[in-house]
Symmetry: C2
Subunit: 160 residues, 2 copies
């Protein structure tokens, strides 16, 4: 797999783009996580796990589907749900139709905390991402992000 020939180094323009993107990758998740933690006591992933559950029928979902929707590994979600369970925001039930599955079920308290956290989080996303972007910036960003995600998908499939 390792290329033995001289690699194609980045051009000046590519390096500029990469530096700017790296800054976003490093700092945007931290900024969003800080706001959530500070104002709602939730981590970024906890918020999106609760959000996924709240959008699901009966506010419940299989662990594996929750992992898929939050782009996290199943093991990570299992630890996460364990912590949320200790805080009574989620509880676990075996799937009655097939005992191999575990259902994560959002509690009333979990729903309440999500509803309380949502406005502040959305405001922060808007302030940090959408407010500084003109409409055409936003469109272009979406196109670029989708292309990168598509490549990540094919790459992951190829690596096995």
């Amino acid at each position: 797999m390792a290329a033995e020939h001289e690699p194609r180094w980045l051009t000046e323009a590519e390096l500029r783009t990469w530096r700017a993107l790296s800054l976003v990758l490093a700092r945007l998740p931290v900024a969003l996580g800080s706001q959530l933690q500070r104002e709602s006591g939730l981590s970024f992933l906890e918020y999106y796990a609760l959000a996924a559950l709240s959008d699901s029928p009966d506010r419940r979902m299989r662990m594996s589907q929750l992992a898929f929707l939050t782009n996290a590994e199943l093991s990570r979600v299992s630890h996460l749900v364990g912590r949320l369970e200790r805080r009574h925001l989620v509880r676990r039930e075996p799937d009655p139709t097939d005992g191999r599955y575990t259902l994560a079920v959002m509690t009333e308290e979990g729903y309440r905390q999500l509803v309380e956290a949502a406005p502040g989080h959305v405001e922060t996303v808007r302030r940090l991402v959408f407010d500084p972007l003109a409409a055409e910036d936003q469109q272009a960003l979406e196109r670029a992000a989708c292309k990168v995600v598509a490549r990540l998908d094919t790459d992951a499939a190829g690596a096995g």
Copy 2:
């Protein structure tokens, strides 16, 4: 600080953009880190710390400057350099001109490992980011990223 009025929820288009961006934020750093770890035994941050040192005169730098250049907290860099020191990729020296500063100094072995890691990393950045982007996508991405970073800067300054 918390807005009591109804928040401005995201529009359909904004939600699409945000989902695409979230995927990139979640998966691109993981993909880059995996490649580095697998092929070179370095984490993403370790790589960029070594890269920063290699670009500095005498391949040495104050801890605080290294933290600034890698967008990491000083405490994180201190732990990181401690680990790199145990692996003999970096060593620490007090700054002879002012004993309050500590200089992180790249070793020959550290430089060797960086040089060995660089081609694979650059290839991966190219494959995952630049290959799927047309020239105008790349330009637009850079513009958008810079605007978000600028907002992150002003936001951080405002929060204190």
